[in-house]
């Protein structure tokens, strides 16, 4: 009896969710192949470990950057294509501060404020890293957050607020306009080059079965700051009245308004929190990555969208989980496929998830 029941249930599952079955099969094949590669010595355990570590860090950045996007997506109901450029803007403002503090007296102030535009000054020669110039980094983080908040509020006032009642698509198209204006304005000011921003950080070699996995101080800084931000957002949304108001608004804005929630103020707070978070993440992304260019945020944006959709729009934990999945996919996929397709794999992953479970992993558990 029990066997028959299990069988019927299994068959129903196979009929209703063929996509999930297919995914599981693909997953098993990949794992089997990995095991084969590991045993035959084509790939070492430590290099897999390094890839996983890299993927986790990348995923953390994507996930943290996704929180802000996810919040605005669920409350204002539009996909903000300018989010990637908020990241870049936060990074540039923060790094200008870091350069200024770290290099004051050693280089021209203008060159420092333009983050070494045109190769006038280099982060490596200023010796910027978390242990060498901690105050410059901390000041940079703070300025990045504040500047991004200012920028998001200004953009909201100029571009989004006048058409807040329009459809999500009208806002989306507007946000594309904002994105282009911001990105190329930054290119105009800071130049088109990609510059190195940090000197080599101190690193620790962890022994892992047959080799080492390197973990450096910037990874650690990313984990600490990222963890603190996540905890802060969690407490904010779960323990404060603002969090409750935000959840009410993402559920039903009209209902929230008639119950006396000042919706416009909540929207402003969402921009403040989301913007601040985005700016800080942008700064940490550059610290971790070590290079800065005007396209960085935009290139990250599609991966962030993938993470947010994967996790379920509106869910903070979903964004983090989605980010980790996307980051791991992009990094670890090079075991099976050529590295030029790594980013494409992350996008394909997103498309597959959209097909199998369009509402995302954490659907219906909206926390913001």
């Amino acid at each position: 009896m029990g066997i028959a029941e299990t069988y019927t249930r299994g068959r129903r599952f196979a009929v209703t969710r063929p996509g999930s079955i297919l995914l599981a099969i693909v997953g098993f094949i990949l794992l089997f192949d990995l095991a084969g590669q590991l045993t035959s010595g084509q790939i070492t355990f430590s290099s897999v470990g390094s890839l996983i570590w890299d993927g986790l860090m990348r995923g953390l950045v994507i996930g943290l950057a996704g929180i802000g996007l996810s919040m605005t997506y669920s409350i204002l109901n539009f996909a903000n294509f300018a989010h990637g450029d908020y990241i870049t803007a936060g990074a540039f403002s923060g790094w200008a501060t870091t350069y200024l503090i770290a290099g004051l007296g050693r280089a021209d102030v203008g060159a420092l404020l333009l983050v070494g535009a045109g190769g006038s000054v280099f982060g490596g020669t200023l010796g910027i890293n978390v242990t060498g110039t901690p105050f410059a980094i901390i000041a940079g983080i703070i300025v990045a957050g504040i500047a991004a908040v200012g920028l998001t509020l200004a953009v909201d006032k100029i571009a989004y607020k006048p058409i807040r009642d329009e459809s999500g698509i009208a806002l989306l198209i507007t946000s594309v306009g904002v994105a282009f204006a911001l990105r190329y304005l930054m290119q105009f000011v800071f130049g088109p080059s990609v510059r190195g921003t940090t000197s080599q950080p101190a690193s620790l070699s962890l022994y892992f079965i047959d080799g080492v996995v390197r973990v450096n101080t910037h990874d650690a800084a990313l984990i600490i700051i990222g963890g603190a931000l996540m905890l802060g957002v969690h407490l904010l949304l779960q323990r404060t009245k603002l969090g409750k108001a935000m959840r009410a608004m993402s559920d039903n804005e009209d209902l929230a308004r008639v119950t006396g929630i000042p919706t416009e103020q909540v929207v402003q707070s969402v921009w403040v929190i989301g913007g601040g978070l985005t700016g800080i993440v942008g700064y940490m992304f550059i610290l971790w990555k070590g290079t800065l260019g005007f396209n960085d945020g935009w290139l990250l944006l599609l991966l962030i969208f993938a993470a947010v959709i994967l996790g379920g729009i509106g869910s903070i934990y979903g964004a983090i989980t989605g980010g980790l999945v996307i980051g791991l996919t992009a990094s670890v996929s090079v075991i099976w496929i050529p590295s030029t397709f790594a980013r494409a794999t992350a996008f394909i992953m997103m498309i597959v998830i959209l097909l199998v479970k369009p509402s995302g992993i954490f659907s219906g558990r909206s926390t913001a």
């Binding site: 539009f78 996909a79 021209d108 203008g110 060159a111 333009l114 535009a117 045109g118 006038s120 100029i158 571009a159 006048p162 058409i163 329009e166 459809s167 999500g168 698509i169 009208a170 989306l172 198209i173 507007t174 594309v176 306009g177 904002v178 994105a179 282009f180 204006a181 911001l182 990105r183 190329y184 304005l185 290119q187 105009f188 000011v189 800071f190 130049g191 088109p192 599609l302 969208f305 993938a306 959709i309 050529p338 030029t340 397709f341 980013r343 494409a344 996008f347 394909i348 997103m350 498309i351 959209l354 097909l355 369009p358």
Partner: protein
């Protein structure tokens, strides 16, 4: 709904209707360019070159805007992966039409060596198949999800052409490939030459070039080629326009508009909305592929990084300027975008470069702004601005897009009433508009109401005849 918007009254006043508006706009644009050129003392060669380049961009943007209009204006499909379909079009065309690989040639990889026309058809089929691949799963999704999927697809296409794995491979025993990051040389016979040779007119064409030699003594061929190719592109625009007008006015097109306005209503009337959407999407993708081919096929070489999402963004601006849902608007939007926003700033830069004394501009923003702060000298910043006009142009486009969405989301011609009925239904004033659509297939179940001021679609349900409601900016959720 406002029935007498500015564009409507304008259409009636301009002789020739839609075609009249387009021709008048084009004439005004060319006149402005020529006048500025004369003022600058451009040579005849320079003038003709400017016109050829302008025509080229008007042509490609008008074509792309028309194709996008089929997706967004008619069907409400939010496609922001246009550039991906263009890339697939030109790359597949190159793969098919490039000559067979020969050791020691300039090109690292060869092609199948088939005629250009077969390559074009193959490119269009490939683009539409990619559209099918995306449409099958993605059309069930919300409009914003479709947007993200399509833009992700266009990036996947770019990464794929960039990758070393597709750089070179064997197909049917021939060494072919996409060239990877270093690009692909398009070393087939000039399509213009094949085109004229096909009709046996190549010698006549060379004769025409010699005649041009009278007014342009030095090497007239590139100039004449450019002008003739511009004319070819404009005739393609005409073809697109005709095709999409026929499509839009056919029963098929009416269902598309019904889907845009209310998909559930259309579905409840027994229309297979998914099937219609897939067909419309594939048709639009094929047209985008063709536009990509026509854009790049004479450029000598293509690299994957040309196909960045910004081209998609250009096409969207062109469509929004013109007005989603209107074919005339799409052409007009393409022309205005190409003349003012795309070529305009570059032309302006050339103009300023000739007028201003040739001083070296600062290499970066720092040296440009420093004199302004220290002793209020704005000249370096001005030079820097002129030098970087290509970046500022994109900033300006972004601002224009925001402004349009705030102030005129329906575009120039988006608010027009497009009559779907095959016969005249209302007062004489609307007759001119209605008569244009008389050629469409009549639907048997049409029930004309002589008193109706607005025409009711026979099989579209709700108000599928109109392009009101923000000119199709409403999503079909």
């Amino acid at each position: 709904m406002s029935t007498t918007t500015l564009p409507d009254s304008l259409t009636r006043r301009v002789p020739g209707g839609d075609a009249g508006i387009i021709i008048a706009t084009l004439a005004a644009t060319y006149l402005a360019y020529v006048l500025i050129g004369i003022g600058l003392g451009y040579s005849l060669r320079g003038q003709l070159n400017t016109i050829a380049v302008l025509t080229f961009y008007i042509g490609v943007f008008a074509m792309l805007a028309l194709a996008l209009n089929l997706h967004w204006g008619y069907t409400g499909l939010f496609n922001i992966g246009i550039v991906g379909f263009m890339a697939v079009g030109i790359y597949v065309m190159a793969l098919v039409s490039k000559p067979v690989y020969q050791a020691g040639g300039a090109s690292q990889v060869g092609g199948l060596g088939l005629p250009v026309i077969i390559g074009i058809i193959a490119g269009m089929i490939a683009a539409s198949l990619l559209g099918l691949l995306i449409a099958l799963p993605a059309l069930r999704l919300r409009a914003d999800y479709l947007a993200i999927v399509t833009i992700a697809m266009s990036e996947i296409v770019r990464f794929s052409f960039l990758s070393g794995q597709l750089q070179q491979f064997n197909l049917a025993g021939r060494r072919v490939g996409f060239g990877g990051g270093s690009g692909l040389i398009l070393d087939y016979t000039d399509p213009l030459e094949s085109f004229f040779s096909f009709f046996g007119l190549w010698d006549a064409y060379l004769g025409l070039i010699e005649t041009f030699g009278i007014i342009i003594p030095n090497n007239p061929k590139p100039v004449v080629d450019g002008l003739v190719y511009g004319v070819v592109l404009l005739s393609f625009v005409g073809l697109y326009f005709w095709l999409l007008k026929r499509t839009g006015e056919s029963p098929f097109g009416r269902v598309l508009k019904a889907i845009r306005e209310d998909e559930e209503a259309a579905s409840s009337l027994g229309k297979d909305t998914n099937g219609f959407k897939i067909k419309a999407f594939m048709l639009g993708c094929a047209l985008m592929g063709l536009a990509g081919i026509l854009w790049f096929m004479r450029s000598g070489a293509v690299t994957p990084n040309t196909f960045r999402p910004r081209i998609t963004f250009f096409v969207w601006i062109a469509l929004i300027i013109g007005g989603a849902g209107s074919n005339t608007g799409s052409v007009l939007g393409g022309a205005i975008f190409a003349a003012l926003l795309y070529q305009g700033p570059r032309y302006l830069k050339n103009l300023l470069d000739t007028v201003l004394p040739s001083a070296s501009s600062p290499s970066s923003f720092g040296p440009a702004i420093a004199p302004l702060i220290s002793n209020l000298d704005i000249t370096p910043l001005l030079f820097y601005t002129i030098d970087n006009i290509r970046q500022l142009q994109l900033v300006f486009m972004g601002v224009v897009l925001i402004w349009l969405m705030h102030n005129r989301p329906e575009g120039l011609l988006g608010h027009r009433t497009e009559t779907a009925s095959p016969i005249t239904l209302s007062a004489p004033i609307a007759q001119t508009v209605a008569s244009e659509s008389r050629s469409t297939t009549a639907d048997a179940d049409t029930d004309p109401d002589p008193d109706a001021t607005e025409d009711i679609a026979p099989d579209g349900g709700s108000n599928s005849t109109t392009d009101s409601n923000n000119g199709g900016i409403n999503s079909n959720e």
